[in-house]
Symmetry: C2
Subunit: 347 residues, 2 copies
């Protein structure tokens, strides 16, 4: 008898493993897997970096290394995404599953690529393996939304991050920073999940930001590279050549776009050329507004400091947007004295 609740619990375990890969797997998806023999966890794994083992293979290898080769035959593999069945940078996971003689495969969501969707299921069932898809499907889909967007549209998932006073202003009169230190830490965690951070030339000139991850080292995966620093500017020659992003140890991770007319085209290139799946906007209001005008933002993170009376720079300056934007799945959390509002843009 298949216990639905048990399947869900184990899929949630696999999802927690998958989360460890966020920020390092692009352009691949972060995926997690656990192997159970009866009630015993015999192997686990997650995908860490493009070109390296997929979660399924790591879980199988983990079981072998623990000396559970003989138990694989009746084991159940839980994996958050339908296993791959075609050759990429690594051989298909379906082959590894077949050769390990795993008895049952449970996955969360199907491959969003229409050419592959359901293919693993058919292939494995034809070889006598029990397969069940759609377990904790909603949670797996929500988790993989950024990657699904990149597969379906060729565009990165864009998260806008703003810090403002309660009156929606980005600048204070006598203090430089709006965010408190707890909110800043949260913003760095978000950088950790991002493949690239985008700012405008004005921000480079005004703040000379490093745009690097500076969370405690223990929380940063070994394989995490600093995110790409993307600068949009009207005139590249107006950028200070001594700016940190041009001179620090990661200067080769800085990309400048000049006089961009078509934002979508630029985003498409960030994905195809630099493998960017998750892009974080840390620009000022003027540039942010342009992304909002063409509806290219999917996720919104607003750090509000309990201050009133900021300067004339609004997070969305000017008149009405052509179309009002609405958020869903909104949450608010406290971070020190600040409040962080997070949500997703309605399509």
């Amino acid at each position: 008898m298949i216990n639905q609740t048990e399947d869900s619990v184990r899929m949630r375990e696999a999802l927690l493993l998958a989360a460890k890969g966020v920020g390092t797997t692009s352009p691949n998806p972060p995926v997690g897997a656990v192997l159970y023999h009866g009630n015993q966890l015999i192997g686990k794994g997650y995908h860490e970096k493009a070109g390296e083992e997929h979660a399924e293979r790591r879980a199988i290898r983990d079981a072998l290394e623990r000396g559970y080769a003989d138990r694989l035959k009746n084991a159940v593999l839980y994996v958050t995404l339908e296993p791959c069945s075609t050759y990429g940078k690594t051989p298909p996971c379906t082959e590894a599953i077949l050769s390990s003689e795993i008895g049952r495969v449970v996955y969360g969501m199907e491959d969003p690529d229409k050419r592959n969707r359901g293919r693993a299921k058919a292939l494995l069932e034809a070889r006598g393996i029990q397969v069940q898809g759609g377990v904790e499907e909603g949670a797996c889909e929500a988790f993989l939304r950024p990657w699904v967007r990149s597969v379906e549209t060729g565009l990165p998932w864009v998260t806008a991050k703003v810090a403002c006073t309660l009156d929606g202003r980005m600048v204070r009169n006598k203090e430089r920073w709006i965010s408190g230190k707890e909110a800043l830490r949260y913003a760095h965690e978000l950088r950790l999940q991002s493949d690239a951070i985008l700012v405008g030339g004005a921000t480079v000139r005004a703040d000379d930001p490093a745009l690097t991850i500076r969370t405690p080292l223990s929380t940063v995966p070994m394989c995490k590279q600093q995110p790409w620093r993307v600068v949009m500017t009207r005139d590249q020659s107006q950028l200070p050549s001594g700016a940190k992003i041009f001179t620090d140890a990661y200067a080769d991770r800085t990309v400048v776009y000049e006089q961009v007319e078509n934002f979508e085209e630029m985003l498409r290139e960030l994905h195809s050329r630099y493998g960017v799946v998750r892009l974080m906007l840390e620009c000022g209001g003027t540039l942010l507004r342009k992304f909002l005008e063409v509806n290219l933002v999917q996720e919104w993170m607003q750090d509000m400091s309990p201050i009133i009376g900021g300067g004339p720079f609004s997070i969305v300056p000017g008149d009405f947007l052509p179309s009002e934007l609405h958020l869903h799945e909104v949450t608010v959390q406290q971070a020190g004295n600040d409040y962080i509002l997070h949500g997703f843009m309605d399509p």
Copy 2:
């Protein structure tokens, strides 16, 4: 033996009773009282309206009506504010306490009026009654902050209420309202606690608001009058004579101020002439900004709707405020899709 925790619990009961009077007692404070004989509650009461019985007298009368006359002698009276000891519209409560032969009096905070502070304590102790002040003092003081301000400064306590999009704008493009219905209900609850609501002439012309309390009748005390409607305008002749506030059943509760130069003076008159202790600002950003510039706002209630891209009317339009304002004791609560941020201005 005096049980400190028991005293606190009973003082909290008295505070809950006091809360029933918020919005109807001005210019008097809302006060609550409970009478205990041993572990038995024998009487309770709260002040409901200026000119009527104070909480202490109501609690004593309640005990008498319940047939507990013989138990008053050893009873303990818990009252949130030091009992009055002078003749006002009603005789002093200290007299009622003395003639009922109550054995012990416990109060929350002292009378903020320096001429009376501690006077009841001395007076009652001289007559052999045990008196203890300062029980749940912090909670009682926080509860009575608006009234204390009115006593100490002659000015009403001002609560600014704004509704805005996430980008801090007060106007939407194609929809009239920003707040959802749950947030609107919350705003009406706030009106219930207010003695007056202030708007600018622009709001009267644009919205023709009624500025009345329209919560479910069951929650409105019988003795609650509609709040004063206060309009600040440059030119009274530009206000539409057919506006609701001039023509509805409460037209005599509408006050117009023209060309106000000195905001503090106007506020002082609202207190002295109309008994306003709690004033709610429901004006637009231009007028709100003027109150903020002269630091005459004590409480902030911001309803944020998860919308981005509102019109050019900011909640605090223009450049930096002369002094940045900071909030403390900030809380955020969800109301339908909206989030309501509430806090108090640092002095």
